[in-house]
């Protein structure tokens, strides 16, 4: 499945390994495993050459892998239904609490109109199954230019902009 990453539609370089599947992939391949598989095969997974990602289901909070993040280049956060918003919190915790700088990927069910929220929470890769996805993504990003609250992105929020605007005004007045 293609990915939206950095505003581009790209081929997914990651290989998703199921729980039973023998590691028939090459030792250099980048693989994503379930949290269960990660806890079971931790030793052998860490000793591979390829990069490693773990997929969290919606009832697996990132605190479970807090100490493992140093081994990981990707965490996939699952949205089993678009109404299940736990992943929004998980993504923010990964970024803001645990300082994870690798890829945080949204997998499962979400829709175009949630993408900006996902991005603000720290998701930086979306599995996309249609050609239209990139167009939608770029439309969605342009819809709302103002944010009222800090999140895991680097956008400045309104109350901060207000106070810096008033500081600037005071500075100019002082001049």
């Amino acid at each position: 499945m293609p990915l939206i990453k950095n505003d581009q539609l790209v081929d997914d370089p990651w290989y998703v390994l199921d729980d039973e599947g023998a590691a028939s992939v090459s030792d250099d391949a980048d693989i994503v495993v379930s949290y269960e598989r990660w806890t079971k095969d931790r030793e052998s997974l860490v000793s591979r050459n390829g990069r490693l990602g773990v997929k969290l289901s919606s009832d697996q909070p990132p605190s479970l892998i807090e100490d493992d993040l140093k081994h990981l280049d990707l965490v996939a956060v699952e949205f089993p239904r678009f109404t299940d918003g736990r992943g929004f919190s998980y993504a923010r915790l990964l970024r803001e609490r645990y300082g994870f700088t690798g890829e945080v990927r949204a997998v499962g069910h979400w829709f175009r109109d949630q993408m900006v929220f996902l991005q603000r929470c720290g998701i930086d890769a979306f599995e996309a199954d249609e050609d239209r996805a990139l167009v939608e993504w770029s439309e969605a990003q342009r819809e709302i230019s103002v944010v009222y609250q800090p999140a895991a992105d680097d956008r400045s929020w309104v109350s901060r902009m207000r106070s810096s605007a008033s500081r600037t005004a005071r500075y100019q007045a002082a001049e």
């Binding site: 918003g85 929004f88 919190s89 829709f111 109109d113 929220f117 819809e143 207000r162």
Partner: protein
């Protein structure tokens, strides 16, 4: 009143454009109804029994006359000539067409209003005390913090897909007129040990099918930590709230199952990580927003206006309206005027175009341009000079807006019920109308005194029946409407849930049952005892005997 700055304007107008695009995608068939549903719900658009219903936010129940005129204009142009004020201080339009909704939102945006987050599993319109800013018993105007919360919660990226809807109420007064104990979060402004003002935090109250009086999880929260603490509560809830059963998804269920202490500990643990971060409220922002809510320039007036006193003695109808519907103002010579939207036999909370326009005119001319919507589905002019009460009363009376029944038996809260709502099991509005007609004699109402009747057409309890002194819940028994009655509830200080008195009554019998309950109360009442006090003293038995004697 709060005024939008460039940021607020930009957000609301961009949100309207975004919704326009979503409606266009729906109308072109690009989106199925199923895909469109979550999008329209994020913007207050429901599909009801007969038509779409649009719920417009009235943040903390405060309106200017210009805004009220716009609400009238929308009712006139896009609806059927009326609007319905709700228990959450919002207004609902019952008959808009889908293709017109973006135009309605455009018009609302022109007067700094919107329908953002008036539905959906997100943080809803923040409600407050209808007397905020003018109440004599107030520590501080709670609307400052309502507005801060409104902004923080608007399009919150993390909390827009919660397990269930989330309602926050804030009060700054010692009398709780905002029903803070039956909200997902209730905030009561209190003084700390050194006199500084902060919040008592109540979490996990609510009505619906599992009514719960919310426990306090923090006795004192400094103001600057308001948003970080709310974010901690929401983050715990977003992760741990149940998502497998819609009826167990509200935060109250989580708080009950974890226990209030354990839940509070989880919040504190989360809060410790974020309390000193970006969400700390700068005093400059508090001050900026507070400046919008600064008291108006009141005139220095005598506490008693001579002309007013004369009119009171000359015109008994006026006097009875003043005594019932006007409330003491903090500023000498001014009064708080309650405008009853409960005329005898009327639909609770409904206002016609003409009535909304009259209220707007009165606010502009006599009310320092402010109007409030109450959670009891009435309107308020919070700033009227005593000397002008007579003129205001005359104008209101001409438009059927001067029924002197505030807090009386005919001042009924009722949900839309089966007349509009596709969740309802039974009608609410005609039951309210029939009770009101039965007690149409105002002298009899005054003799009965303060008594709160609240009616819901289904177990979701939009009519707050659990906290009515007399609560009425419509249920469906094999296709027939029945009404279960509870006694002894209250929503204010000392909030309590009513007890079910016995088997339900048919639609035909429910008004008789209410009358029997009231007659029983009057027979047992000692001096000025309120209904709940009599009920507490004598218990349910005397009521049961009268109600079920013939059965």
């Amino acid at each position: 009143m709060y005024r939008y700055d460039e940021f607020d304007h930009t957000l609301v107008s961009e949100r309207v454009s975004q919704f326009k695009g979503q409606v266009a995608r729906r109308l072109s068939g690009d989106l199925t109804e199923e895909q469109f549903r979550p999008l329209r719900l994020m913007n207050g658009l429901y599909l009801q029994l007969h038509a779409y219903m649009l719920r417009v936010a009235i943040p903390y129940g405060t309106l200017s006359s210009t805004q009220m005129r716009m609400l009238a204009h929308i009712a006139d142009k896009y609806d059927r000539g009326y609007g319905h004020f709700t228990t959450r201080q919002n207004i609902q339009y019952n008959w808009p067409s889908l293709d017109q909704t973006p135009n309605i939102l455009d018009e609302l945006a022109s007067v700094e209003m919107h329908a953002i987050q008036t539905s959906g599993n997100c943080i809803r319109n923040v409600t407050s005390d209808q007397y905020a800013g003018v109440a004599a018993d107030e520590i501080e105007d709670p609307r400052v913090y309502c507005e801060i919360i409104r902004q923080w919660s608007t399009l919150h990226p993390e909390f827009s897909f919660l397990p269930r809807k989330f309602k926050i109420a804030v009060t700054g007064a010692s009398t709780d007129r905002a029903a803070t104990r039956v909200h997902d979060i209730g905030l009561q402004m209190v003084r700390g040990s050194e006199g500084e003002v902060g919040f008592k935090v109540i979490v996990g109250g609510g009505l619906g099918r599992t009514p719960i009086i919310g426990p306090t999880i923090r006795e004192f929260l400094p103001k600057k930590h308001l948003l970080s603490y709310l974010e901690a509560v929401l983050r715990v809830y977003n992760q741990l709230g149940r998502r497998d059963n819609i009826y167990k998804a509200r935060i109250k269920i989580l708080v009950q199952s974890a226990g209030a202490e354990e839940f509070a500990a989880q919040v504190e643990e989360e809060w410790a990580h974020i309390r000193d971060g970006y969400l700390q409220l700068p005093q400059s922002e508090i001050n900026r927003i507070r400046s919008y809510f600064a008291p108006p320039d009141y005139e220095i007036l005598p506490a008693i206006d001579a002309e007013h006193a004369l009119k009171m003695s000359e015109v008994p109808e006026f006097a009875s309206w003043v005594e019932r519907n006007a409330v003491a103002h903090r500023q000498p010579g001014y009064a708080i005027v309650n405008i009853s939207l409960k005329p005898i036999g009327g639909i609770p909370g409904d206002a016609t175009v003409a009535q909304m326009e009259i209220v707007a005119d009165l606010a502009a001319r006599y009310g320092l341009d402010e109007i409030r919507v109450t959670h009891e589905q009435n309107l308020v002019l919070p700033n009227v000079k005593q000397a002008e009460l007579f003129a205001v009363w005359q104008k209101l009376a001409q438009s059927d807006l001067a029924t002197p029944n505030l807090g009386l038996v005919s001042d009924i809260i009722a949900c839309p019920g089966l007349d509009y709502c596709n969740l309802a099991n039974a009608r609410s509005i005609p039951v309210a109308q029939n009770i009101s007609e039965r007690f149409r004699d105002l002298e009899r109402q005054h003799d009965i005194g303060d008594l709160k009747i609240k009616i819901s057409g289904c177990i979701n309890a939009c009519g707050h029946h659990h906290v009515g002194n007399i609560g009425i819940l419509g249920v469906d028994k094999k296709g027939v409407e029945f009404y279960q009655i509870t006694l002894g509830g209250r929503a204010d200080d000392g909030a309590a849930l009513g007890d079910i008195i016995g088997p339900a009554f048919s639609y035909e019998d429910v008004v008789d049952a209410v009358e029997t309950i009231i007659e029983t109360y009057l027979a047992h009442r000692e001096s000025d005892e309120l209904f709940n006090d009599t009920y507490a003293r004598i218990g349910p038995q005397p009521f049961k005997e009268k109600l079920y004697a013939a059965h």
